[in-house]
Symmetry: C2
Subunit: 220 residues, 2 copies
DNA sequence: AAATAATTTTAGACAAAACTAAAAAAATAA
DNA sequence: TTATTTTTTTAGTTTTGTCTAAAATTATTT
């Protein structure tokens, strides 16, 4: 596996995440995600195409090639292992780990990452509940759904949270919701799309639609 | 404290180490140390002078300012803490840690480093025996001397090793010499400058001049 | 279908960090 | 004290990654 610059890696990772949602990624989307300008994106897309990491025809949007996806999974593996390390070993809080991991992920020494993985006990998910690819780039693609799509009176486990701000963390901590919490949706209100949920035998409480949209669960 | 590029940091750290030995550092010396060209060094010296990290007049050599020294100690703190982490927690061997720390040292997040320090139990020295600056940039400047300068029949503790190759590591392991080992020089031979040393009550054994020159001890 | 708007690409410029080759200054030898 | 050698700096390029402004293409309205 070749080595890529910090800038190239940031583009590759962003494309990987965006194409999960959209299939093919557009110039403006990516520029917006990376807080850069469309012209810069086009420049980089040409470079990544030459390196065979990207399928790209002018004006047609882009997708990573198989090789590009492999590279992306390597970066995501590093990012999430460092996030786990920061939260678990250095006692960083949930909303602080992403920013630091954004830098650490670019130190790409295979032995370092594999030994870190071992030291951490081969964790399966990062502090936000997202799965960590293994040393071969394999990742558990669990069919997680948004809390808003859950059927009434079924129990599901909170698996991840898409917003990673300190504001959502404050709210989740107050409501005692964390990765792994078992939730049951008791009611949905059409007026504001709020819902009432229960944790175990405790009394039901209300969750706003904004919050529910950022909570993802594993239904079985 | 401002932020500096990876390249700037590598120059700052190299100047710091070279001026420890020489007082003032020359263009060729630094180019040689960083495996770059003299012209590149001159360019960077101008930049560091503008940033007030360096005292530099054309053709006169250079020294770090107080501010420059502070920045250097920050980089060295990061480098040595990561080296300790790699050796102690990830079980890297002695000769592998430097290369990896060379990259990790440039992730400069104060909170990350201070929490890492705490997680590691505030280690005093890195795996090569070199002192780790504290959060305020203070460093223990122990008056260590080279093994070749030790008086006969006095005992001293091995405090650091200047060469960090796997070859010297192999030899030191074979001779059971490590950081902290108590050594007593019994004889010196003028012919080849080799010496006979003892560890505790074990029989004396021979050390070549090349090896002795790379071993530093703390004499009391 | 033509006009208008939005998106994307190109062209040209710039800053950082490196290099080579030539000029300038300092150190050393004759 | 000249002449020669060594060291250092300057001048001019190159590569990477960014930007603005203008042109080209595609999408949306009227
Ligand atoms: Mn990043
Ligand atoms: Mn995460
Ligand atoms: Mn470095
Ligand atoms: Mn060291």
């Amino acid at each position: 596996m070749l080595n890529y610059s910090t800038s190239e890696e940031n583009y590759i990772k962003a494309i990987f995440h965006l194409q999960r949602q959209d299939g093919t990624v557009t110039t403006n989307e990516l520029a917006n995600e990376l807080k850069t300008k469309p012209a810069s994106v086009t420049d980089m897309m040409k470079k990544l195409k030459v390196k065979k990491l990207l399928n790209y025809q002018p004006y047609q949007g882009f997708r990573l090639t198989n090789e590009g996806n492999k590279v992306a999974l390597g970066i995501i593996r590093r990012h999430r292992l460092w996030e786990y390390f920061l939260a678990e070993k250095l006692k960083f809080s949930w909303d602080e780990v992403h920013e630091v991991a954004e830098d650490l992920e670019h130190v790409s020494n295979k032995k370092l990452i594999d030994k870190l993985d071992e030291f951490l006990g081969f964790p399966r998910t990062d502090p936000h509940g997202d799965p960590i690819p293994d040393a071969n780039g394999r990742i558990e693609m669990s069919k997680k759904i948004c809390l808003t799509e859950m059927e009434l009176n079924t129990i599901a486990i909170v698996s991840s949270v898409s917003d990673q701000s300190s504001e959502i963390l404050e709210l989740l901590e107050h409501k005692k919701i964390a990765i792994g919490t078992k939730l049951e949706v008791k009611k949905k209100f059409d007026f504001d799309n709020s819902m009432e949920v229960k944790i175990g035998r405790q009394p039901a409480f209300t969750i706003s639609n904004q919050l529910a949209e950022n909570i993802f669960v594993l239904s079985n």
